[in-house]
């Protein structure tokens, strides 16, 4: 008897969830609402079935997520009786930080990076699961499954712990924490295959429908609420679009698409010629930017 590639990945991820639950005092599941989070949640639920998730789920809200995302978050929390905690950086609210007024770099830093650090400090989480995959981006390709952060939440890529076999050293000092990536060895195709195989529910933004968008710097940005201000010459168009990756709506580009169901989405993905993170404005500044953000505490 031999198990398939996907079942092997599934088992590996489940083992990682269980190891953290067995060894860490106060783990948390970082939930981003996207497809990778959905797969990761499915794996976590399986790891502890029939028990409920033995740890809380945290969403760091920037207040600029698509409305469909927030609805989906509430739906999932209820469906699986999750201990869902939502954190919004109060400093950001006070200073009215937003991606349009302050630009993507400041907005992401304050609402996402600083917001996450606040939540981790507040709840004293010692381990946080994230859905990053090694095939996504060059510096992630080098990150361990168990990735250590100092008490200041920074990552030292030059000094990662050796990580042999599937033995994970989870020992840390007080104040330090671990970011754990159960999907490290999954590829984008694996994720989609698994969604299909297991019939995993996804937020509707992944599927094409008519949505109000404007073209800005060659990208299609959805006008999700009244905070989005049109620049001169910009016009809202009702186009059939979907999203390959999800984030804050003014920072996430849509693509024209007819893919209304899962099969069509997978078909589109198979012929895609543009890599996934291209849809996120955050990565394009410079090629070492993700590593830099991570050293500063970005997930």
């Amino acid at each position: 008897m031999n198990i398939s590639h996907l079942r092997r990945l599934e088992a590996e991820s489940i083992q990682i969830f269980r190891e953290v639950a067995a060894e860490c005092e106060n783990p948390v599941f970082l939930y981003s609402i996207g497809k990778d989070s959905s797969v990761m949640l499915e794996l976590a639920l399986k790891a502890f079935y029939p028990a409920p998730l033995p740890f809380p789920v945290l969403h760091v809200d920037t207040t600029w997520k698509f409305r469909e995302m927030i609805e989906f978050r509430e739906h999932v929390a209820q469906k699986y009786s999750l201990d869902m905690r939502v954190h919004i950086n109060p400093d950001g609210i006070e200073q009215n930080i937003g991606p349009i007024t302050h630009g993507s770099a400041v907005h992401t830093d304050v609402m996402k990076t600083q917001g996450l650090k606040q939540a981790l400090d507040y709840y004293q989480f010692d381990a946080a699961f994230g859905g990053a995959r090694r095939d996504e981006e060059k510096s992630r390709a080098k990150e361990r499954v168990f990735s250590f952060r100092t008490d200041k939440h920074s990552w030292d890529p030059k000094n990662q712990r050796p990580e042999l076999w599937s033995i994970y050293n989870t020992r840390i000092k007080k104040g330090e924490s671990i970011r754990v990536f159960p999907l490290s060895n999954w590829t984008e195709l694996d994720i989609w295959q698994y969604i299909k195989l297991e019939n995993i529910e996804l937020v509707s933004l992944y599927f094409a429908k008519k949505r109000p968008v404007v073209e800005r710097d060659g990208m299609l940005i959805m006008v999700d609420d009244e905070r989005f201000q049109l620049a001169d010459g910009e016009k809202v168009q009702n186009r059939k679009v979907r999203f390959r990756t999800l984030g804050c709506y003014p920072l996430t580009a849509a693509i024209d698409s007819d893919a209304e169901d899962l099969n069509s989405v997978i078909q589109e993905m198979l012929v895609a010629r543009t890599s996934e993170r291209e849809g996120r404005l955050i990565d394009t500044d410079s090629s070492a930017s993700m590593e830099k953000k991570k050293q500063e505490g970005y997930f």
Binding site: M1, N2, R7, P50, R161, N169, E188, V271, T274
Partner: protein
Amino acid sequence: MAATDQYEKKQQSSAELDSYVEAQENKSLLRFITCGSVDDGKSTLIGRLLYDSKLLYEDQVESLKAESKRIGTQGDEIDFALLVDGLAAEREQGITIDVAYRFFSTEHRKYIVADTPGHVQYTRNMATGASTADAAVILVDARHGLQTQTYRHSFIVSLLGIKHVIIAINKMDLVNYDESVFNEIRADYETFSDKLAFKEITYLPISALKGDNITESSTNMAWHKGAALLPLLDKIDCAEEDLSLGFRMPVQLVNRPNLDFRGFCGTISSGEVSVGDEVVVLPNISASKISNIICGRNNVSTACAGEAITLELEDEVDCSRGNMITAKNARCEISDQFQVNVIWMSESPLLPGRSYFIKTGTQTLAGVFTALKHKVNVNTLENEPASSLELNEVGIVNLGLDKPIAYEVYDKSRDLGSFVIIDRITNETIGAGMINFSLRRAGNIHWHTPDIDAAARALIKQQRPAALWFTGLSGSGKSTVANLLEKKLHARGKHTYTLDGDNVRHGLTKDLGFTDADRVENIRRVGEVSKLMIDAGLLVLSAFISPFRSERQLARELLNADQFIEIYVKASVETCEKRDPKGLYAKARRGEIKHFTGIDSGYEEPANAELILDTDKYSAEQCAEQIIVYLEQQGFLNADD
């Protein structure tokens, strides 16, 4: 890695998609590493593999071209290394410091490749990559031949149990694709690799930069008849090497959400398990049956190696994280003393006698390296004496743990024979270890000769032979317990023989008296007879007062250390005198017997008996049962593998 060439067609029916997804699903997975000395072109090779198998997206190729011009080392040509060297420090220095994982697939397989660093100071990162790989591509620069790092990496690859290696002699374009250069390096490597444990070595001349012998055979090297790299990788047979182990699952977590459910979670490391199977929890040896198997959210009837499952057992057994659930009739061994290989990964050296944390798959124990046998010179693979192990050195060490664990040797199971070493103060992972054998049992003696020897005789009896040496005062219960034990063993179909102290004096040692010299000769003869019977495959029960340590030591030394089980049947003189089954104490009290042990001759209590049975407290039945448990635990009641 999404784009797949054969699926350019925009329109596909759903059925086609389903069959495509299914085909993807059924692909096998091969994990391999690339390693070798710095500048042998590892990153370039992987970049080339991704590029040639058309697995890059358009935007990735565009940004690669732009970066090649800006910071590349290949003029206007594409610098493939930039594709994989992901950390800023690496890109600036042009070196690879950490292992990078890359993903690609061919028509036949999915691949996860670990691109590992060449610099000697990053050997630990290289070992990280190698620990999960099925195969290794070891690069050699054709201009420089074998380097220290080639030797070191080959040795570590072999040590970590990778059986399939491809020696890719790279940069052939820089030596005019000269066959003699290839042959020379190949001959050098053949000499060196004699001492390594590879199952299959393939030699391949390539140029990663120019794309020779990567996806298809190069016309520049028509003299080389073998397949190119990708076809070679597609053909490596990585099917499970050893399926002979029975069912084993280390318990990772006990899932107990409420009083009605108690599940044991873990990943099956070998074999299969089905509902109704009889299992044993080690090391505490509690037996039960599988009542349910949960895989995902489903109850299933059977599960196999590699699956992460939850087991429910019929009985309320003692079972917690770190225990191992195994097939009842093929359980694994238990020990707390091992000889191990260690790869040291810390600036502060390994010191024998210092206490470290030892983490296996599912538990952390305290461990001490009791002796550093030697370290290995990576260039010559010779053993050298050592008093400490420095960063990146490999040594052979004895390890003592604070409690016994169920284990397999690394050769048989990467999961159950491996551990990492953790510094108690810094929490850093400072070394990796692999179990060679236990120092406490016979598994370390390899009997592979096809002749009919002791092991062969024992095998058909489904047992491991040993001398069970009962010592204790007259009347302590030696013969009674031995007799009960023999009955129990016999009932289990085990082959036994009892040498009773009184009985042998009627024949074998009839000519001997009770002088010191005669006592020694008495024991020597009994020891020699035991030895013959052990060779015949029997479990030999010897019940002798044997009051002196030196006598018992003599018997012990006649036999192999792990074939001698000293059982101290303990009872106070008062108890024995009260029992006095043969009326000997009464006679001794009356002075009718001289030099009677316990009355006018001393008894030296054993200092290191394998078992102590207190017959003041326990019945003979309970004592015999304790011995059975011990024999099971030590594997005497199973055939040796």
